[in-house]
Symmetry: C2
Subunit: 305 residues, 2 copies
């Protein structure tokens, strides 16, 4: 067997992860946790794949807004459609983090009304073919390889790993198996509501405007974890203030637990930013969460490097 976590540098972070996994999986260890309780949850945008210069799903929604505006130019009186056609990403960035629910509503409503099968085909095509503006690679390739390796390592050690995304659950599900080896049902998060319509050939699922409550961000993350999993994670990973409830929630587990906070400090290979992560970084220091420095801890960031 290869050495585990070979895409991580030999730093205290890597050591802390290996130490934790050994402690909770070694029979007889005072920290041993039975397999059924080995639940890990990771945020997706900015934790498992790149979220700059905008959420990947935002690029997808912008494409859709442009399509809709081309079919009906009267939509251009609405600022979101105009911003999409003008390529004004800053307009959408201005909506979050303060207005995340409004942004999410926009993302969802642009893909409402169609069947779920139509949405899935569009989302998958976009993730394979849409090109990231900086890296010139399909969005599918924007996953952080050390995090993918960590997920695989946890699974090999009897963990069940979930993605708890604030973004669209069914968007991420289209590629979760291919990118992370995580089956669709282990991707949980914000999502549009579904409606079953009876047709002559049987029931068909349509996407309805409106979100299933709660939004999978901030306090909505533990709520969503309970809704979809029904257990508290012993390991949680995030990168932004929207993840702090989930990280702290995992730390209230009676068993030994690990909290990982990815810090974006690598402007050369990725992006360097702390905006939107001020609170969680302070909590991490106060509560002894393990901070991952992308610059120091990642031997490699993307597969295409």
């Amino acid at each position: 067997m290869n050495e585990p976590l070979s895409l991580w540098n030999q730093t205290p972070t890597r050591h802390a992860i290996l130490d934790f996994v050994a402690a909770v999986t070694t029979p007889g260890s005072p920290d041993f946790v039975p397999p059924a309780e080995r639940i890990a949850t990771f945020d997706n945008d900015g934790t498992l794949w790149c979220e700059k210069p905008g959420y990947i799903q935002l690029f997808f929604a912008v494409e859709r807004l442009k399509e809709l505006a081309a079919a009906d130019p009267s939509l251009l009186v609405q600022p979101a459609y105009k911003a999409a056609v003008d390529g004004d990403l800053a307009y959408f960035e201005g909506l979050y983090p303060g207005n995340l629910p409004e942004l999410m509503k926009l993302l969802y409503d642009t893909h409402a009304g169609m069947t779920q099968a139509e949405f899935e085909a569009q989302a998958y095509a976009f993730l394979c073919q849409g090109i990231h503006p900086r890296y010139g690679r399909p969005f599918m390739q924007l996953a952080y390889q050390p995090m993918v390796e960590l997920i695989n390592y946890l699974e090999a050690n009897g963990f069940k790993v979930f993605i708890a995304t604030a973004g669209g659950m069914s968007f991420v599900r289209m590629v979760s198996e291919e990118i992370y080896g995580i089956p669709r049902e282990q991707v949980i998060g914000s999502n549009i509501t579904y409606e079953t319509r009876m047709t002559e050939t049987g029931p068909v699922l349509f996407r309805k405007p409106g979100l299933v409550e709660p939004l999978g961000d901030g306090p909505g993350k533990p709520a969503n974890i309970e809704l979809h999993i029904g257990r508290k994670p012993i390991l949680a990973g995030g990168n932004a203030d929207g993840d702090l409830h989930m990280l702290w929630y995992s730390q209230t587990h009676p068993c030994r637990s690990l909290q990982l906070l990815l810090r974006h400090d690598d402007g050369e290979r990725e992006y360097a930013y702390d905006a939107g992560a001020e609170k969680v970084q302070q909590l991490a220091a106060e509560r002894n969460w393990q901070v991952i420095s992308m610059q120091k801890d990642f031997y490699k960031v993307f597969a295409f490097e």
Copy 2:
């Protein structure tokens, strides 16, 4: 290895199940289905455990209504509290199937406002200690053993088995591992909403009045399956009209699929009733679904027989 499905009689039903499982799991078979697609979903009340003379969760809610009325007798002006104190189960039965949403709201609201941990402790204690009025056994023991055996058999053949209940998801989760060997996260269904409240010791989950949409019954079952699983099942099992959408939905899968409809025709060992299953029985005949006769196909019904 023991012969599979030993709790089933040697009937065409058992043969149809074995034949289906062999066809979809044998490499090289024209009907072979890869493991990731081997999703099975079963209704719970009346399909996996006894639902007469009332839903098990209804007995739980009645206990709670009595508790609440004892603490505050002014509640007795409300018919549900009065019926609970009077032991008038017929009042609650009168609410369904026509008024299932109202009944569900009642079931949920009686256990709202508390923490999820408090609910879980109460639910688990009730399922272990509450006694079924006819069998004189704890409710936990009311699972149909041939169905438990079928679930285990499917899992041994690479299926991932989910319970899609119209009843309370977190109620069933308390015992799903113990009774069926199904982990909590594979129990999906109707559920109350959760709220994360920050306390000095971290985030705590509370139960809020109101249901996560949709109710996991009828057209809500395929919608819930999409929300929690994101794949169409190739095998679905139910017993009542509220299951017909799910059964038909599984039959729209492009791979070979199997639909199982349990018929309650065994008044001696269990109950004999077709009420509330008229539509699904007609559809089963029209669409070639496999009807399970409890009387003819089950060698044994309960573990305590």
